[in-house]
């Protein structure tokens, strides 16, 4: 297995329960890799193992060939992490939060100012973190994770609980970082996020990887219907099997200018997950919200 991050048969048990079962994958340089699964699937546990916060009970995980249970100070400086609980100093302003971590990570002070601008927090730089909105707090935590100019970034549910506009702001930032060559591992249960950002995803269910691959490839692979859903201009909907036999019918509608839309019956990642596990990705979250 090659890559800057390698996970081989990682298992983890906690309080008599198996949280992760034989998880294996690798992440290459400049890749955005997504860990998808509902709450309790083991995503956060895996991120904690990969960032050296937790020692797995089985298997090996390495970053640049170094065991995550014994990461050197040098390797720690190469990684950035934004966990789901953010960990901001509430009585410190956005600017102070960043200055403090800039000093700790020996990053330049100007880097903090640059990130405040890029993350859209310049106007709010003098506001204590406790008084920032959820979206701003997420962006501040992301800015902090980017401070040291990491080569590998871990993001645990970076847009959880954010409105679509705030989430898009974070996606733009991550896309910019990807263009600069940063490797990103993110956990999410947001399918739109996974499909927009991730080069590859691993679908995690009860601590086990049930599918691994590029989002489009996974959707194609699980396209059992292999059909085309046709919408005509008069509102009628037709289903055709995707193959040469559909060509004459399609040509006829095109010639008569009747065609309004053609959709593939390819499933979404959400549907792939549902097919594989019988569970929806957001089941747990809906339950929690109720």
């Amino acid at each position: 297995m090659s890559g800057i991050l390698c996970v081989e048969s990682v298992s983890h048990c906690y309080a008599g329960q198996t949280v992760l079962r034989e998880v294996s994958f690798s992440v290459g340089r400049g890749e955005i890799f997504g860990l998808l699964g509902p709450s309790g699937a083991g995503k956060t546990t895996l991120v904690k193992i990969l960032t050296g916060q937790l020692s797995q009970t089985g298997g090996t995980a390495t970053l640049w060939g170094e065991d995550t249970r014994r990461l050197s100070a040098q390797t720690r400086r190469e990684i950035g992490a934004m966990m789901d609980d953010l960990g901001l100093y509430d009585r410190f302003t956005a600017e102070e939060n960043l200055s403090f971590y800039a000093a700790l990570t020996r990053a330049q002070r100007s880097r903090g100012e640059e990130l405040l601008c890029r993350c859209g927090l310049w106007q709010a730089r003098k506001t204590p973190a406790a008084r920032l909105s959820k979206g701003m707090r997420n962006r501040l935590a992301l800015a902090r994770a980017l401070l040291g100019g990491p080569r590998l970034l871990f993001l645990d549910e970076p847009t959880a609980g954010l409105d679509p506009a705030a989430a898009r702001g974070i996606w733009r930032l991550l896309e910019e970082e990807r263009e600069k060559g940063m490797t990103i591992l993110l956990t999410t249960h947001n399918m739109v996020e996974a499909q927009r950002l991730c080069d590859r995803v691993a679908l995690l269910h009860e601590g086990r990887i049930v599918a691994l691959g590029a989002p489009e490839a996974l959707c194609r692979q699980h396209n059992r219907q292999n059909g085309l859903l046709i919408t005509l201009k008069d509102g009628q909907r037709q289903w055709l099997e995707n193959g040469p036999a559909a060509a004459p019918e399609l040509c006829r509608w095109l010639e008569r200018d009747q065609l309004a839309a053609i959709h593939s019956t390819e499933p979404t990642l959400e549907e792939v997950f549902l097919n594989l596990t019988g569970r929806r990705l957001e089941d747990e979250q809906c339950g929690a919200a109720l």
Binding site: F92, A103, L104
Partner: protein, 229 residues
């Protein structure tokens, strides 16, 4: 600047913004100044209030502050972020412990100024207060490390703090409380502060040393069992 120094500076800044912790450092020195300068009951020793409130200060402020600071960092996961940023547990404990020790020592200077002491006695007073503060910080640190949240830290701190700070005072009125207090570091602080300028009983120092070892042992045990995350 070293990580410990950065953490010390950050914690000190945070303390000035955190009213619940700040009041711990200010309450007793101010109370002592008022009582010592304005209330002079007849028949009581000259530095009665300084000794009394000094003992309570040592038993309360450092312990509650140390426990609250560590528990808050654990609860809000800022401690996890620090460790991820490469901060070593030792650096964190030195930085944060120092940020409790310094305000306590400044409070001690105010307490000392409220009393009638010679320069040599003032040095002795501050040395006793500093040693007592160290034991309290270790106990508070052990509670903070062992707790999962600020709420659980408070529920553990309150009984220990009440025992340490009030037992020496109760010892003035009850013989058995006095006997028990003698075995506590705060009881020794009370005896040493009350006897400033006089001869120090080696037994008092021995008991104090044992308390210091016990507090250090408790802290190490809590740290080994729970760590900082």
């Amino acid at each position: 600047m070293s990580n410990a120094a950065l953490l010390f500076k950050r914690q000190l800044t945070d303390t000035f913004r955190n009213k619940t912790v700040l009041i711990q450092f200010l309450l007793f020195p101010i109370l002592t100044l008022i009582m010592q300068k304005m209330v002079r009951p007849e028949g009581l020793p000259e530095n009665f209030f300084v000794t009394l409130f000094g003992t309570m200060y040592v038993g309360m402020a450092p312990m509650t502050a140390a426990a609250a600071i560590i528990a808050e960092e654990k609860e809000k996961n800022t401690l996890r972020v620090l460790l991820l940023a490469g901060v070593r547990p030792r650096e964190y404990l030195i930085g944060s412990g120092g940020a409790v020790f310094l305000p306590c020592l400044i409070g001690g200077v105010v307490l000392c100024a409220a009393g009638e002491y010679s320069p040599a006695e003032r040095v002795q007073f501050l040395a006793v207060l500093a040693a007592g503060t160290l034991v309290s910080i270790l106990l508070g640190g052990a509670i903070g490390v062992a707790s999962r949240s600020q709420m659980s830290a408070t529920s553990l701190t309150v009984p220990v703090m009440l025992l340490c700070s009030f037992l020496p005072m109760l010892g003035l009125f009850n013989r058995w409380a006095g006997v028990l207090a003698r075995w506590l570091y705060s009881g020794q602080v009370n005896r040493l502060l009350g006897g400033i300028g006089g001869r120090v009983d080696p037994a008092d120092l021995l008991i104090f040393g044992l308390n210091l070892l016990l507090a250090a042992g408790l802290f190490v045990t809590a740290y080994r069992k729970r760590g900082l995350t």
